[in-house]
Point group: C4
Chain length 284, copies 4
Amino acid sequence: MFLMVSGLKKMAKFEGHVLPGTFVLIYGFCLTVKHVLQHLWRTHQPKGQQNMPPFFKRTDYAEGGFLIIAAFVGITVEWFVVDGPHVYFYRNGSWVNLQHSTMYLFFGISGIAMVASTRCKLVPTGVDRLALSLALFVEGFLFYYHVHNRPLLDAHIHKLVLVPVFGGSASTMLEVFIRDNIILELLRACLFILQGSWFYQIGFVLYPLRGPAWDSNDGNVMFITVCFCWHLAVALLLVACTYIVVWSTVRRFSGRQLDTEIGMRNTSSKTSSQKALLEESDEE
Amino acid sequence: MFLMVSGLKKMAKFEGHVLPGTFVLIYGFCLTVKHVLQHLWRTHQPKGQQNMPPFFKRTDYAEGGFLIIAAFVGITVEWFVVDGPHVYFYRNGSWVNLQHSTMYLFFGISGIAMVASTRCKLVPTGVDRLALSLALFVEGFLFYYHVHNRPLLDAHIHKLVLVPVFGGSASTMLEVFIRDNIILELLRACLFILQGSWFYQIGFVLYPLRGPAWDSNDGNVMFITVCFCWHLAVALLLVACTYIVVWSTVRRFSGRQLDTEIGMRNTSSKTSSQKALLEESDEE
Amino acid sequence: MFLMVSGLKKMAKFEGHVLPGTFVLIYGFCLTVKHVLQHLWRTHQPKGQQNMPPFFKRTDYAEGGFLIIAAFVGITVEWFVVDGPHVYFYRNGSWVNLQHSTMYLFFGISGIAMVASTRCKLVPTGVDRLALSLALFVEGFLFYYHVHNRPLLDAHIHKLVLVPVFGGSASTMLEVFIRDNIILELLRACLFILQGSWFYQIGFVLYPLRGPAWDSNDGNVMFITVCFCWHLAVALLLVACTYIVVWSTVRRFSGRQLDTEIGMRNTSSKTSSQKALLEESDEE
Amino acid sequence: MFLMVSGLKKMAKFEGHVLPGTFVLIYGFCLTVKHVLQHLWRTHQPKGQQNMPPFFKRTDYAEGGFLIIAAFVGITVEWFVVDGPHVYFYRNGSWVNLQHSTMYLFFGISGIAMVASTRCKLVPTGVDRLALSLALFVEGFLFYYHVHNRPLLDAHIHKLVLVPVFGGSASTMLEVFIRDNIILELLRACLFILQGSWFYQIGFVLYPLRGPAWDSNDGNVMFITVCFCWHLAVALLLVACTYIVVWSTVRRFSGRQLDTEIGMRNTSSKTSSQKALLEESDEE
């Protein structure tokens, strides 16, 4: 009986890292696709025509909505199912849950800012990025004070997550001032993917479903550090592959679906963008 | 008798955090209103007409004057009423008072810089922001060395105030180079509000008027960290609400009072700005 | 006899802080005057005429020459008079002198870069600022490792000098990208003045000519921190006063000496700049 | 026999620092030459003609290829010759090799990014710099966790290498936004040279071929710090000399070889650039 409860607790902790990791991973991946599409659209557009087509407005709403719903689900699960068997997060003194809820709250706020700045022209440009940057800062800030009094490996593996979190916060803050820079946008997406995949790694290392957790010797700590770099390399690879796939898909369908999907482009610009795409493919 | 003196001391310490907190809170709130008004004015102005109306000059004078008076009051209270029963600030070795006075001094200097740069065109643009940034830096610098040899919770709660202080210093320094950016201006206002409300929190946690001060266990430290994030969320909410209220008030009165108040706008621009406001309200 | 030698050593250490302090102080003051003159010249110049007059080229040569000569004197004194009675700098293990010489060397390099970039158009713009920034970085870097194994007050007072040194390095690095910004130029001058006056403070606190050195209690440490802020306030005041004095002097002599001194301005621009200055003085 | 094995191990460790040092040194030197050539070309070009000549495309391919080959060689040597007698790198727990391989991997990725962004116009501008910045960040990140549990001098000398590594990472990140700035490009080259020469220094201090390794007293630590500054001075000198030599070589051959080498310049621009070069040489 005790073993079963202990197993459930372990599974809950494992899921407590894997579930948010999945959300963050999906978010990062969607961000990549969205920003690559926006970049291709910006690149192939004639100079005069600067209005975003309604398709991108819809993706912004979707992004904001995703953040709001994810935050709502997160807070609900934490607060109302907290005494059920499946979602224990540490519970020393009952404050821990509030930490996670607070993180979710700020991502919810950034979702609201996203929707508001897409909906209403009076909201100053860049508020969405500022809110996202603050959300990441708050996440890093709470993680930083989260890791006191833990074993070495546990503290180290949690501290490494601060790199994508604070790095993402800084790069998103830069986006307030440097808008529509594809490098910054993909860097942000890449850091979200890294963060998500690292949550998986934390789950597998600290609360493995089979076998004991890793112990805190120096070799393990060093290997985890190296492992973190490999996650970064894989995240970069994933973003690069997505870029190539999206770009070739757009090129293939550019004559048929893309324009009707994105809408609002007139015939002349369509032809010129097609020509540009064809010229590029010739050039390669 | 001893209890009464001790009670008075405690009240003095409580007031010593609440009074500056109130000042900072009011300052942050006024900054929000001022910068939202300026932003609305900038947005609805035709491109050609760039002179600030005299109304904004007067708000700049008021802001500078407020800083100078607040600094003067602060220094006076610290230096001349210091042996009275009501305003003890720690007094270990008699230097502590000089710390607070030094902080006030730099805010006074930034008030003078504000007035001077509004009054005289020869003062280089941005001096007011540089002086404010330095004032915040000095405040953070002194706070940083203020918290040695204190109990854990006391040190932690004082260290958290460094986040809005140094954050505000950095964002104000950025404003030296990026002028008239509403995001940076509202971020600064928001960080002032956070700083003010956090002084209240310090007063209520460390020198509560009723009941004992909180003890330094890990749960309390963690809860205070979470609490800090809620203060940030409330500050963001307050700035957002102020933005909406100011904007809707301006829209309602834009046909009648605003132009006569702000002055100097000619009829054509008045009509165009009214039209723009009406179009926006239609669009929503 | 022993007392006399000890007294000489103490005097040498006192001078070892006061002499560089004097150099840095003078340099900071000259920078202020030079950059205020440049700023006034830039402000009152018509848009079309952008060539710097030869007077400013000469001040750049003078600045570079000052740095080279100061570095040469510093290194000579350190290396060749090091066994004489008057210039002991700490001498634990004989490496200390090399630290100071290395600092001087980099200021010499920045002097050479200054002269080269004024002399020859092929040297890329901004090399002088980069070299100065590196010189300040190296100074701070060596100071940082200089303060190990010292008593608390000694370490603290030496650590505080890192604020103007690294602050100056950062602001000078910014000047590589943001040229001709009066705020950054005066900030740099102000930080040099602060650094110089702080060397005086170190001399008076650690190696006072009369009475014992201060001891390392908490009150003293805190007071030194506050004292540092006052030095900053005085440095700001000095820069502001210099600005006002230089500006009013220029205004008084602008009809007579300035133009002949600065040279190369034609009659029309002279009259327009005079008019501008007169209009400003009327406006006040 | 034991002595011989120990001697071989020491030599392996010495080579393990000198070989990468040589690679980095050569890379830094080639970067200097390449960026000086690019800068001279940009400076002497008429405004209208902005296409890079094919010569520079070829140097970009060469740079990317060099990085890919160096990374490939490094990883191969580490992984496949690791049990041979000549290339021991520390081997505590067998993870260490993975650290070095991971560093090489990221430089390989940055080489691929370099080639891709030169080859294909669809790769966003600045990706090559971002990848190089990440490679340097990963190198610094792994070095930072590399130095735990070592003797003082060993840890200190390894920590100093973080200055050029993180400095280079930051300056390369800046280049993503500020393209074609010769100061940043030469700073990057200079930091690579510093890093390379410092690897030599580490080899000579910790694993000297003759005599014992240095011990960890304070004098040695301080001297190493000073020594680091001299390496920086020498790196600056080397970059400056290269600049002068390249510039004078280009000036001498500008009438004959350069244009045919770089290609694609028409006669008029050739004459104007020659004239500009001659005028400069007269001016000096």
